[in-house]
């Protein structure tokens, strides 16, 4: 794949990406999460960045994330998200489900 070609995030995986990102980096604010996902996937996976926010709100409500207000390096007010215990459990469940599904798909797409 050439750089610059962007693919839609498979539906349902946005939660997994956010959870995983936070698990790896600890506390992050909205832009950092989006930026991290982008740079990790080398800009292959592309979403309208705004779609992050409904997902974050939903996960806050579910109690997977905790949001705490703090200051950025530029001294701006920002909400920092981190995982709760419940969030970690959810990450395990999502990861397991993801690998199960992707293995299944792999078996069809790349026959041995």
């Amino acid at each position: 794949m050439t750089r610059g070609q962007r693919d839609e995030i498979p539906s349902g995986t946005l939660d997994l990406l956010i959870l995983k990102t936070l698990a790896r980096h600890g506390e992050l604010h909205g832009f950092q999460i989006a930026d991290s996902i982008q740079s990790t996937t080398e800009d292959v996976l592309q979403v309208e960045e705004g779609s992050l926010y409904p997902a974050l709100q939903r996960m806050l409500l579910k109690g997977w994330l905790r949001g705490e207000w703090g200051k950025t390096e530029g001294n701006r007010r920002a909400r920092y998200y981190n995982l709760t215990a419940e969030g970690r459990k959810q990450l395990e469940r999502e990861t397991e489900r993801y690998s199960r599904v992707s293995q299944a798909i792999a078996r069809i797409v790349e026959p041995a």
Partner: protein
């Protein structure tokens, strides 16, 4: 669970949360733009690239807020706000709709509350469903009376009578009965506590309270040994008596009271608020309860029908099986005592039905009428909503074209309807509470239990539910209909059409139904009104004006013989005659309209026993009541004991018993074979009041005391001025003769007559108010429908006028349309009235429920009112300026 808590937190601080969200997003875009600039993009490009990457910020914000789950709520609040705004823009419509609902609901609730208190609510006794009242019935004695009846044909009906104590023992032996108690009203002169006073009480069998399932609050119930003629006198007093007359004395059980000059020991106090069946039925407070203590003579006389009976069925026994068992007992008694019991049948009925007898039909009719009113109110609101919706088709089309979803439109209308219904219900509640209070205040005193009425919330809820459903159905129907149409077409046609054929038909049928129902109420009110006029026009045959009547019940203990009583009244007569302003003085066993006494006699040596109303009167009686002497003479002071017995009879006596011959000079055998000579004939009177029949009357001379078995007790004077002003003076004369003698029931006869028609007046007034409201609603309905339909046709009318139509023609066009609606409504209403007013029949006096004059009158009134309502929009249409109308297109 925790998730819900978090949601609720969002609800409280959702403005802050939204602000936070916007901050986060703004920061995100700024940081991205800075990053892009650092990677070398120009400032503006970086900015717009960052925005592009983020997407539509508003949309993402909305999506985020939806997650909180309060958007539905917010939308509902918004819908209602818009509803309030829309309703406030059309204050006329809103007021009329709310008022209509308020009046309909309020009236219905108030009337139902009264009906419930009087008729439906359980009696205040233990397991009231088991309680029955028992009476005896026999075939009517003399069917010749019915030919002089007041139009109510009772021929063939059994005559109801009170029960002979002697039969009671046999009836109560029935296996179906758990207990059977007798009671009879009694009055006692109470002395020793303040002024002497006559107190009404009940003479009851010892098991009376046990049968009702009531225990005394203090002291004890009657015992069997109290209930014998020679037992020491005991009395149970009501809670009120204890509190009011004895000051709530805690030593009450140690006290005695003087009743008819005899000391009676108080053995118990009844619970607060206890009312015996006779109080419930007659509304007369009973303060004292004494054992009936029937004499051996009474207990064997099967011909002496004198007591009321209440009985309790054994658990599981039905009325039908109890009645069947009584029939078996009756058959046995008929064989054993053919003279007295052959045609005397015990009959039972639910105690509750018995308590409300008389007022039942009237109240059910009122309830029916108020139900019709609710229906009319709902129809009217439905009509208003449809009319209003028609006027808003263009608004709806615009909203649709602007992208409002169909669901959204329906929701908007739903919110408006619900608001209307809620306001109507709230106002209806207030109207209902006020009307309930007014009804109790206005109702005649003799409607049982009416004072116990409280606002009935259940029925209010039901009526409110009906109103809300109506509002919602008819409020949403147009929205639904409008949302089915294509906006562009609707926009094009909205201004011109009046809502399509279908809607017109709907509204027309609603209006027709409204007119029809109103006519039913109007006919009902008209019938009662005419009947009342007939009643008021009835000549009593005696003059009730300027007569003061009162009751002076002389106790047996002080006045043991009829001669003693006569002497008292003669003394009183001479004293009162000396008072200024007294024109004539009467005393008798009973004055007119205060009951009578029927007795048998044998005319001219015949062995056939006849029955007539008897009175025993002094000479001044006829002058006092203005009853004219037609032939012969009146009894005089010389017709005393020892002189040949004389009587005066009325004209009906001759008509009924002597085939129209002059009764003068005839003789009859009465009492102990006394030969009574008829010495005079007086004019007929309606003893029982305006609606009573004219019956044969026999007047005996009060001075011939051995002739009659009743007691002299009523006293009356004809006065020169206001009769009530003499009350105190007469009372003083009574006390001057006997300082312990109470005077009760002091009333002007005019008052008594007025009270006797109070129920009729009340019924008539209520129904008249209902009818007036119904007609007003119907008129509003017609006005509304025509106004709107004409407003929608302004363009068409403009063209007609421009083409030369004359104003007269336009008016004719509109009135023709109105005429169709009204005519259809009238036909429907006349049919409905014919069917429904049959239930009013028993309330009418000398008037059939099919009285065509009333029908024609009601139809005419409604037609004129509706026509006048239609004329307003018709005239307005005729004045349409064609230029202005066409420019609007």
């Amino acid at each position: 669970m925790r998730e819900w808590l978090r949601r609720v937190r969002y609800l409280w601080r959702r403005d802050q949360a939204a602000e936070d969200l916007r901050d986060e997003m703004r920061l995100h875009v700024e940081l991205r733009a800075r990053q892009l600039r650092e990677r070398g993009l120009a400032g503006d490009d970086a900015q717009s690239a960052a925005r592009r990457q983020f997407g539509n910020r508003g949309q993402w914000e909305d999506r985020s807020r939806e997650i909180w789950g309060w958007t539905v709520w917010e939308r509902v609040v918004q819908d209602f706000r818009m509803g309030v705004r829309a309703l406030r823009k059309t204050p006329g419509f809103t007021c009329v709709a709310v008022l209509t609902l308020a009046v309909g609901l309020g009236m219905n609730t108030a009337v139902y509350s009264v009906v419930n208190a009087v008729m439906l609510r359980q009696l205040p006794y233990a397991r009231p469903g088991q309680l029955v009242s028992l009476w005896e019935e026999h075939p009517p004695d003399h069917d010749q009376f019915s030919s002089h009846g007041d139009g109510l044909n009772l021929a063939g009906a059994q005559t109801r009578t009170s029960v002979a104590v002697a039969n009671l023992a046999d009836y109560s032996a029935s296996q179906t009965m758990a207990g059977m108690a007798s009671f009879d009203g009694t009055g006692m002169n109470l002395t020793g506590i303040g002024l002497p006073e006559r107190v009404s009480g009940l003479a009851v069998s010892a098991n009376f309270f046990a049968v009702l399932g009531v225990e005394p609050l203090r002291g004890r119930d009657f015992r069997a040994e109290d209930d014998t003629p020679n037992a020491p006198a005991v009395v149970l007093v009501s809670y009120d008596f204890w509190q009011r007359r004895l000051g709530g004395d805690t030593e009450v059980l140690e006290r005695s009271v003087m009743l008819d000059g005899r000391p009676s020991r108080i053995v118990g106090v009844l619970p607060r608020g206890f009312q015996s069946p006779s109080e419930l039925a007659e509304g007369v407070a009973r303060e004292l309860y004494v054992p009936a203590a029937y004499t051996a003579e009474q207990l064997h006389d099967r011909d002496d029908h004198g007591v009321a009976v209440v009985a309790r069925l054994r658990p599981g026994v039905t009325m039908r099986s109890a009645q069947a068992d009584l029939k078996v007992i009756q058959a046995r008694l008929a064989r054993q005592f053919p003279a007295t019991n052959k045609e005397m049948y015990p009959v039972i009925g639910a105690l509750r039905d018995d308590v409300v007898k008389g007022t039942g039909t009237a109240l059910w009719s009122l309830l029916g009428a108020s139900g019709l009113l609710v229906l009319i109110a709902c129809l009217n609101v439905a009509n208003l909503l449809l009319v209003r919706a028609t006027g808003r088709r263009r608004e709806l089309s615009v909203r649709l074209a602007m992208g409002a979803s169909r669901m959204r439109l329906v929701r908007l209308f739903l919110a408006e309807s619900l608001l209307l219904a809620a306001a109507g219900c709230a106002a209806g509640m207030l109207v209902g509470m006020a009307l309930t209070r007014a009804l109790i205040a206005l109702a005649p005193a003799d409607i049982p239990r009416i004072e116990t009425t409280t606002m009935d919330w259940t029925v209010f809820a039901v009526a409110a539910a009906i109103a809300i459903i109506t509002g919602v159905l008819f409020g949403m129907a147009p929205a639904w209909q409008a949302s089915q149409t294509r906006p562009v077409e609707a926009l094009k046609t909205a201004a011109r059409s009046s809502g399509g054929k279908a809607q017109w038909r709907w509204r027309a049928s609603l209006t027709v139904a409204e007119v029809g129902l109103s006519l039913v109420l109007l006919v009902g009110a008209g019938l009662l009104l005419r009947s009342f006029a007939v009643v008021m026009g009835v000549d009593l045959g005696f003059r009730a004006d300027r007569v003061l009547a009162m009751n002076i019940r002389l106790p047996q203990s002080h006045y043991p013989s009829a001669g003693d009583r006569l002497r008292f009244f003669e003394a009183l007569e001479s004293r009162v005659r000396a008072l200024a302003g007294v024109e004539a003085v009467a005393y008798a066993n009973r004055m007119p309209m205060r009951g009578s006494w029927r007795s048998g006699f044998q005319l001219d040596g015949s062995v056939d026993e006849l029955t007539a109303d008897f009175q025993t009167v002094n000479a001044g009686y006829f002058e006092t009541f203005g009853i004219a002497l037609l032939r012969g003479r009146l009894p005089t002071a010389h017709d005393r004991e020892g002189q040949p017995p004389v009587a005066v009879v009325n004209q009906a006596f001759g008509r009924v018993f002597l085939h129209g011959q002059d009764p003068l000079g005839h003789e009859f055998l009465y009492g102990d074979n006394a030969r009574v000579r008829i010495v005079g004939v007086v004019a007929d009177i309606r003893r029982g009041g305006k609606t009573a029949a004219v019956l044969p009357e026999v007047y005996l001379s009060a001075a011939q005391t051995t002739l009659y078995p009743v007691r002299l007790a009523d006293f009356a004077v004809r006065t020169a001025g206001n009769p009530l002003l003499l009350a105190d003076a007469i009372r003083r004369e009574v006390l001057a003769i006997d300082k312990d003698q109470p005077v009760v029931h002091v009333r002007s006869m005019a008052q008594v007559v007025d009270e006797s028609v109070a129920q009729r007046r009340f019924q008539m007034l209520l129904l008249a108010v209902f009818a007036a409201v119904a007609v007003a609603l119907a008129v509003m309905g017609i006005y509304g429908v025509l106004s709107y339909s004409m407003a929608q046709r302004t363009g068409e009318l403009g063209i007609r006028i421009a083409l030369g139509a004359r104003p007269r023609g336009i008016v004719g066009l509109v009135m023709g349309q109105a005429g169709q609606l009204i005519a259809a409504g009238l036909v429907l209403g006349l049919g409905g009235a014919l069917v429904l007013t049959r239930f009013l029949e028993s309330l009418l006096f000398q008037l059939r429920s099919t009285d065509w004059v009333t029908y024609a009158g009601a139809a005419a009134v409604l037609a004129v009112a509706a026509g006048a309502a239609a004329l307003v929009p018709a005239m307005r249409s005729a004045r349409v300026d064609p230029m202005a109308a066409l420019r609007e297109e």
